[in-house]
Subunit: 379 residues, 2 copies
C-alpha cells in the first residue's frame, strides 16, 4: 500500500478548485498547498523554526544539488533528509530532470539517461532513472519524483514527442527500481511541451501506471503566459480526481489561482525565496522592492495587515537599511515575509474553497493585486 | 537623577568578582554581563527573536557606523534605535572613538575633534565631543559613551599622556553638551595605553566627574595579553565600588574570567558574531571550526551539552554542509550558538559568584578549555 494517500474533502461547483488532504509518513498536508523550495537542504535564508512559524506543511528539496553536495550517501548516513536538515514534516524531492538541463554544463541525452557536467566543478556525472531512484531512496523524502526530461522552450514538435515518450519509458524504469515503495510515494510527470496532443498522450501514458500522485512538468520554462495557461487547461482536467495533481515550478500568485481553478493541488516555486533575498517583498498589492531608496524613510511594515514576524516588528526603512549595508538580516526578514505571504495566500484560498467562494475571492484578490508594478508610493 | 542606577548584590571574599544589577530605562541587566555587538543596528546574522531566545539582556551598537548609514537623523525619525531595530531591551552605544582611528581613512586629531574619511565612500567628516553627543542623543540608547581617543598599540608615553588628557577634556565637553541626561546615562572612558601611571591619572580625571558608570578603553588593541591583564589589574581596582565598570572590546572567555575576577561588570566583543559567521563555533572546550572538512560526517551537535536552537536541532555535518554550499543558514546557526555560548557562560559565572565559588568555577572551566586549539577530533 502506498505511504501517500489523498482525500478530496470538498469540491466547488463553479470551478475545478478543490480542498484535499494528503497523508504522508511525516504528517498531513492540506491542499491546495505551496511548497517552499529548500534546494540545498535549507529553504534559503530562513530556518526550520521560521518555516514552522509560517505554517509550512511540506517543503521541496533538489535531488541534483544534494547529489552533488553533500552527496546522498552522506545524507543517508545522517538518517535521511528529515534528520539531516532538522525538518520533521513532509518533504518532496524533484528528480533533477529540470536541473541537469537548465543548470548543468554540456549534457547528452540517450535512451539510457543523461550525461552532464556539474555546474560547480565541471565534473562528469550520469543520471539514469535507476540512479535517480537510488539517490531519492537514499535521501528518504516522503514523495519522490520520477526522472524526466524537462524540455526547454521553444521545442520542436518531433523532439517534444520523442522526449515525452522517453520520459514515459523512464517512468517504467523508475517504478521497477524504486526500493522503498512502502515508505516513499513516487509521482509520475506529464510532459509534452506546448502541444496539447502530446500533453494528452503523456497523461495517458503516465496514468497507465497506478501511482499515488501525478505532476505536470515542463511549464514556466520561458513560454508566454497564455501558452502556459493553455497547457494547464489542456492537461489538468485529464488527470484523475482521486489523486493529487502537482503543478511543478509554478508560480506567481496569479498562476497559483489559475492552477487551483483548474484543479491543481500542489505547487512549488523559488519566487518567495529568490525575490526575498534580493530585496523584493510580495504583498497582496504586488511586488514591493523594499531595498529601494524610496523606502529609506518609510516607517510602515512591508504590509500593515501581514502577521509575519518581520511585519510585526520591523519597518520598510529598517529592512531597506539592512539591504543597503549588506546585513544577513535583510534577506532573512524579507524571506520570512515572502514565505509567510505565499503560505497565507494558500490558506486564504483553502478557506475560500471551503466556503464555496473561491471565484469571488480570487476576483477580489486580483482586483487589488498588480502583477507587474511596484508599490512605489511612499507614505 | 541618572536614568542608570547600579546595585552591587553580592561580593565574593576570594576575588573582586561581584554580582550586580544595572537598571536602565529599558529594563534591568544582571551583571557581570556580555553585550553582543549590533554594529549596524543588527547583531550580525541573527534576529532580535534569536537574541531573546539566548537571553540577551543588553546589546551594543556603533555610533560611527550608524552615523554614516542610515544616519542618526533617520533613526531619530524612526523613534530611536530601539524602535528602529525592534529591540525593546537596553542598548549601549560606543562613541565612535575606536572606529574613527581604526576603520576610517586619513584622520587628523586636534583639540577640537577628529577629522576622518568614511571607510565606505571616502567622504570627509568631523567628530567632536559635541557632535558625538548630538548623534548619541538622536540614537537614543540607554547608555552612551563619551567621545575618546582610543590610542593604538604601540603608543609612545608622551603621546599616550597628551591623548589621555585630551580625552579627559573631551569628557567635560560631552557632559556639558549631553541633552538627555534624564533619559540616557553617559559613561566616561579611562585611557592611558599600557602605562600604569597614565591609567591611574586617567581614573582620577574621569572619576572627578560623577557619572553613572565608567569604562576602561584602549585595551585589546594589539598589545600582548600579559600587558592587557597588567593594565586591567592596574586600573579596575581603582574604580569605584558603587558604579558599573565596563571593560570595552573584551573579549575571549579567558579574558572575561580575568575581567570579572578583577571586578569588571560589563563586556562587549565581536568574537561570537565574527567567528560565527566565518565558520567557527565557541564551546566549553575551545574553538571548533565547524566549516572544516573534518566535520563533514560528524553527526553530533556543535556541543551536545548546549541547549541553543542550533545544538538542539542540527549537526556539525549539516552546518559544515551549509558553509560549504554558501547558505545564509550557516552563519545564522553558528552565530546563534556562539551568542548563546557567551551569554550562558556569563550566566554560569553569575551563578558561581552567587554561590561564592567563582574561583573554583573558573579553574574548572579553564581546565577543559583550550584557548588556542581546535576541537579537531572527529567522533
Amino acid at each position: 500500500m502506498s505511504p501517500i494517500t489523498f482525500k478530496v474533502l470538498k469540491k466547488n461547483k463553479d470551478s475545478r478548485a478543490r480542498l484535499g488532504r494528503l497523508t504522508t509518513p511525516h504528517g498531513e498536508v492540506d491542499t491546495p498547498i505551496f511548497m517552499p523550495v529548500g534546494t540545498q537542504a535549507t529553504v534559503k535564508a530562513i530556518s526550520s523554526k521560521d518555516l514552522l512559524a509560517s505554517h509550512a506543511q511540506i517543503i521541496l528539496a533538489n535531488t541534483y544539488h544534494l547529489y552533488l553536495r553533500p552527496g546522498h550517501e552522506l545524507i543517508e548516513k545522517a538518517g535521511g533528509l528529515h534528520a539531516f536538515m532538522g525538518w520533521r514534516r513532509p518533504i518532496l524531492t524533484d528528480s533533477g530532470g529540470f536541473q541537469v538541463f537548465s543548470l548543468a554544463g554540456l549534457n547528452k541525452i540517450t535512451e539510457d539517461g543523461v550525461r552532464f557536467q556539474s555546474h560547480i566543478d565541471g565534473s562528469y556525472h550520469f543520471f539514469t532513472p535507476e540512479k535517480v531512484m537510488e539517490i531519492e531512496n537514499s535521501l528518504g523524502p516522503d514523495i519522490i519524483m520520477a526522472f524526466d526530461e524537462c524540455t526547454p522552450y521553444p521545442c520542436e514538435f518531433d523532439y517534444a514527442r520523442r522526449s515525452m515518450e522517453r520520459t514515459s519509458r523512464w517512468l517504467e524504469r523508475c517504478i521497477a527500481t524504486h526500493q522503498r515503495p512502502d515508505e516513499q510515494g513516487l509521482f509520475g510527470i506529464v510532459q509534452g511541451s506546448v502541444y496539447p496532443e502530446l500533453r494528452a498522450r503523456s497523461v495517458e501514458l503516465t496514468l497507465s501506471r497506478d501511482l499515488p500522485g501525478y505532476a505536470v512538468g515542463g511549464l514556466s520554462v520561458g513560454e508566454p503566459k497564455e501558452q502556459m495557461y493553455e497547457m494547464m487547461t489542456a492537461t489538468l482536467p485529464l488527470m484523475p480526481e482521486e489523486k493529487p495533481r502537482y503543478l511543478m515550478g509554478i508560480g506567481y500568485p496569479e498562476d497559483l489561482i489559475q492552477g487551483v481553478k483548474l484543479g491543481a493541488d500542489m505547487f512549488d516555486c523559488v519566487i518567495p525565496t529568490r525575490y526575498g533575498r534580493t530585496g523584493t517583498a510580495w504583498t497582496r498589492f504586488g511586488k514591493l522592492t523594499v531595498k529601494n531608496a524610496t523606502y529609506a524613510e518609510d516607517f510602515r511594515p512591508i504590509d500593515d495587515q501581514c502577521s509575519c514576524y518581520s511585519c510585526r516588528n520591523f519597518t520598510r526603512a529598517y529592512i531597506r537599511h539592512l539591504f543597503q549595508v549588506g546585513e544577513i538580516l535583510a534577506p532573512h526578514l524579507t524571506t520570512i515575509h515572502n514565505v509567510h505571504f505565499f503560505l497565507s495566500f494558500m490558506t486564504d484560498m483553502r478557506q475560500a474553497i471551503a466556503e464555496e467562494r473561491f471565484i469571488e475571492w480570487s476576483q477580489d484578490f486580483l482586483k487589488n493585486y498588480q502583477p507587474q508594478s511596484n508599490l512605489n508610493k511612499p507614505e
